[in-house]
Amino acid sequence: MQGYEVSIEIPPRRGLLDLRGNAAIRLICNEQLGGDLPLAANRLACLPGNKLAYCISPDHWLLQVEEGDEGPVLRSLEQAAGQTFHAFTDVSDLYAQIRLSGPDVREVLVQGVSIDIHPRVFPAGSTARCEFAKTTAQLTCLETASVFEIAVYSSYQRYAIDWLTQAQGR
């Protein structure tokens, strides 16, 4: 058999919000969301209601919600934040997700990801925003260590899939 054993899929669409704000805003969000936005970059937190919060930097998060929830969640957060300096943005279409699974998933990723994704260093539940095949990606290792999700800017989605397919060597 030629090539690496990996399957490349597009996961179901989700809502995505980009949240920016200082500590006060974080507290407001935590209250609204019923859980804590992670404090350190490249950390991931599961929040109630099937939400995932990725920390990009200490004042910057991506909040993943179920499809269709982005509007209501955004509105409720906006309301709670009021006049405090912040920027919440619906970015559901800004990113596109790709899901990779299979025994060789790391063999494929190491061709384009320069950070260390050794299972000891990047186990299930890890996330990082990093370079991926000459573009930027939010790279996440899901529950099992051999399933990854990559979020890229959506104009790069087809490129990313083509790139992964080629990296797969099939």
């Binding site: 970059a41 930097s57 320069s114 950070i115 990093c130 370079e131």
Partner: protein
């Protein structure tokens, strides 16, 4: 391929960053106060330090922050980031 220790993301390859210039050369607060020649000097003359210097680097493929890095331009040796460029 220098290795830059981002205060947020840890050690990352240089290719994740964009060089943002010397960090010890703020834009004059009131450009009108400068003579034409002094202004030209600010615009055209970069410090171009041979040795250790503080520099801005934009972690564009990572945390998206501008960080301050100490780098020795003679060897490209880098030292732990002393501080962040921005408000944090």
């Amino acid at each position: 391929m220098i290795y830059i220790n981002c205060p947020h993301c840890g050690e990352r390859n240089e290719s994740e960053f964009v060089y943002g210039g010397n960090a010890d050369r703020p834009r004059p607060a009131d450009p009108d106060e400068l003579s034409d020649a002094a202004w030209c000097d600010y615009i055209y003359t970069v410090p171009n330090i041979k040795g250790w210097a503080r520099e801005f680097w934009w972690h564009v493929h990572g945390c998206n922050r501008w960080i301050t890095l100490l780098r020795d331009s003679r060897t490209d040796e880098v030292q732990a980031v002393t501080q962040e460029a921005d408000r944090g």
